[in-house]
């Protein structure tokens, strides 16, 4: 019995299954459709935030291409679906395209310096946005493009909110599982090593460029998935959904969570999605608040939420030990 409990709480597989079971009941306990929508958004943003975490946190590359990659995924899938291709095929094609572009970006940024990564990803972003806004026949331009309703496996209608929720739940947990497994694997450790001391990694025969490209490709896969989900959730796509502003918010979330930390990221991501829904009312000052938060985090809590969590755990341990001593 205890073994089962430990499996659920300590292994990645167990925790994922545990989360899945717990989150199954969400559609039954939420008060209204709006809240269900927010829940779906939380899951979607978890995926793209995690993608940004892989690129930025594990690998140390300051990329602003996250939003653009989401857009590529979303638009590709939408265009193919509108052309009549089955949902599953469109999704796979879209994912292939965004991963490929991510890989390309990774290769282009082989020169280490932060400015190059920034430059190339900014350039990529601008290019994608210009294309999205101007290829009117293909994308509907700045006024947007509606997406045909789809059926998963030809049977389940994704226009049904609840069905979409479960679909998103499975997808997001799958990708989170992948992210967590990578972190502890040789791949993840290597990426962190390169981030910590690139020359040290090179001196061990590690091909830093190769791993950075892998990180970028993975990150873009995650972004692509999130973009696709976002598109089919709303049934409508517009270039403003993938603005530079959104790209910067991705960076903000990763910093808030603590660069590279998975646990911190989950907390930060959920927090951000909920808060941004709330802040939609105060659109006038929302930007300012984001800006102030990120500056505050970097100045006063640079380790982000992960560091805060770690401190809390440490304090609890100390208190327990002190308590044990005094008795």
């Amino acid at each position: 019995m205890d073994k089962i409990r430990r499996w659920f709480l300590e292994t990645v597989e167990g925790r994922t299954l545990f989360a899945f079971i717990v989150l199954l009941i969400v559609p039954w306990i939420v008060p209204n459709a709006y809240t269900l929508n927010v829940s779906i958004l939380i899951l979607i943003f978890l995926i793209c935030d995690m993608g940004q975490n892989i690129v930025m946190g594990y690998s140390g590359q300051l990329s602003v291409a996250g939003a653009a990659l989401m857009g590529i995924g979303a638009y590709t899938a939408a265009i193919l679906v509108n052309e009549g291709l089955p949902f599953e095929v469109s999704v796979i094609a879209a994912l292939l395209l965004s991963s490929l572009l991510g890989c390309l970006l990774g290769i282009l940024t082989f020169r280490v310096k932060t400015h190059y990564v920034l430059l190339i990803t900014i350039g990529f972003h601008e290019t994608v946005l210009v294309l999205l806004n101007n290829l009117l026949d293909l994308t509907g331009g700045s006024s947007g493009m509606p997406i045909r309703p789809v059926k998963l496996f030809g049977a389940i209608s994704l226009s049904d909110r609840t069905a979409f929720y479960y679909f998103t739940l499975v997808v997001s947990l799958l990708f989170l599982y992948i992210a967590f497994k990578i972190r502890r694997s040789k791949l993840g450790l290597t990426m962190l090593a390169i981030r910590d001391h690139e020359k040290g990694a090179l001196s061990l025969g590690i091909n830093a460029v190769k791993y950075r490209v892998i990180a970028m490709t993975l990150g873009s896969l995650f972004s692509g998935v999130a973009g696709i989900l976002l598109g089919f959730l709303t049934g409508f796509l517009a270039p403003t959904m993938f603005s530079m502003h959104k790209a910067l918010l991705l960076i903000l979330v990763v910093v808030l969570g603590g660069m590279g930390s998975n646990r911190g990221l989950i907390v930060a991501s959920v927090f951000m999605t909920v808060v941004s829904q709330y802040l939609n009312q105060f659109v006038e000052v929302s930007m300012m608040i984001y800006g102030a938060v990120i500056i505050a985090v970097l100045l006063f809590a640079p380790g982000g939420i992960e560091a805060l969590l770690a401190t809390v755990v440490l304090l609890r341990k100390k208190r327990r030990m002190a308590g044990a001593d005094s008795s």
């Binding site: 040789k186 910590d196 020359k199 040290g200 090179l202 025969g205």
Partner: protein, 242 residues
């Protein structure tokens, strides 16, 4: 004795400054080779050139007879030409054990789990194996660097001032690691300021001054060389030799 690492006419020029000037270096198999010279004589630059962290302006570098001067740093490491840095290069957010395991896992089957444990014990960090490497002391980090790189089963190891900042007992642990590597057939070249340390340990020594080689030979030969004495006049050399 055959050479495992050689340079021919190795030169590195920066804007207006020749840091390394037509250097012909020769390191033999299984030998412990010292690289000494006053500050600014080009020791670090030489190591950077040999391992691919800098590209030469002129000259050739040969590892086991093959030209490597066009290969990137990580490729040279994979071929067995490895190095450490003057400042610690540990992966701060990984644990001590993870630092070693990462090295072993990239060594293409050459490093094993047993070796990791053994190496940990050798450098005295077994009790700290789950500590984040960034929390180790300066000397411990430098030892970890050498330990890490030894797991790659290198054929030539270049150490950039490995003793700098190390305490007495730490220097001894370093020596143990070096000797163990030598027994395995690895050649070791290290640059050092502590000339006494170098004299006592090395089979052969190369002396640099202003980027050029002024002497190469056994410790005895170097000790007696007039150019070397002149270069170190009044410096630590005289003090060390006594």
């Amino acid at each position: 004795m055959e050479a495992i690492l050689e340079t021919f006419n190795l030169t590195k020029r920066f804007k207006g400054l020749t840091a390394v000037d037509r250097l012909d270096l020769r390191v033999n198999r299984s030998e412990i080779h010292g690289l000494i010279g006053p500050n600014g004589s080009g020791k670090s630059t030489t190591i950077n050139l040999l391992t691919g962290f800098l590209s030469p302006s002129e000259g050739e570098i040969r590892l086991e007879g093959k030209n490597v001067q066009f290969l990137s740093a990580h490729r040279r490491a994979r071929l067995g030409l490895v190095r450490t840095f003057q400042e610690p290069s540990v992966f701060a957010s990984l644990t001590v054990e993870e630092n070693l395991r990462i090295a072993a896992s990239h060594a293409e089957g050459k490093g094993t789990a047993f070796e990791v444990g053994e190496t940990l014990a050798l450098i005295g960090l077994l009790p700290k194996k789950n500590m984040a490497a960034g929390n180790l002391s300066y000397g411990e980090q430098k030892l970890l660097d050498v330990a890490r790189v030894s797991l790659l089963q290198p054929s030539v190891l270049l150490l950039d001032e490995p003793g700098a900042g190390l305490s007495g007992p730490e220097k001894e642990k370093l020596l143990v690691l070096i000797k163990k590597l030598k027994k395995r057939g690895c050649a070791i070249l290290f640059s050092e300021h502590d000339v006494g340390f170098v004299m006592g340990v090395c089979d052969r020594i190369t002396v640099l001054n202003f980027g050029s080689k002024i002497c190469e030979g056994t410790p005895e030969e170097v000790r007696r060389n007039p150019q070397v004495i002149e270069a170190y006049l009044g410096g630590s050399y005289e003090h060390a030799v006594g």
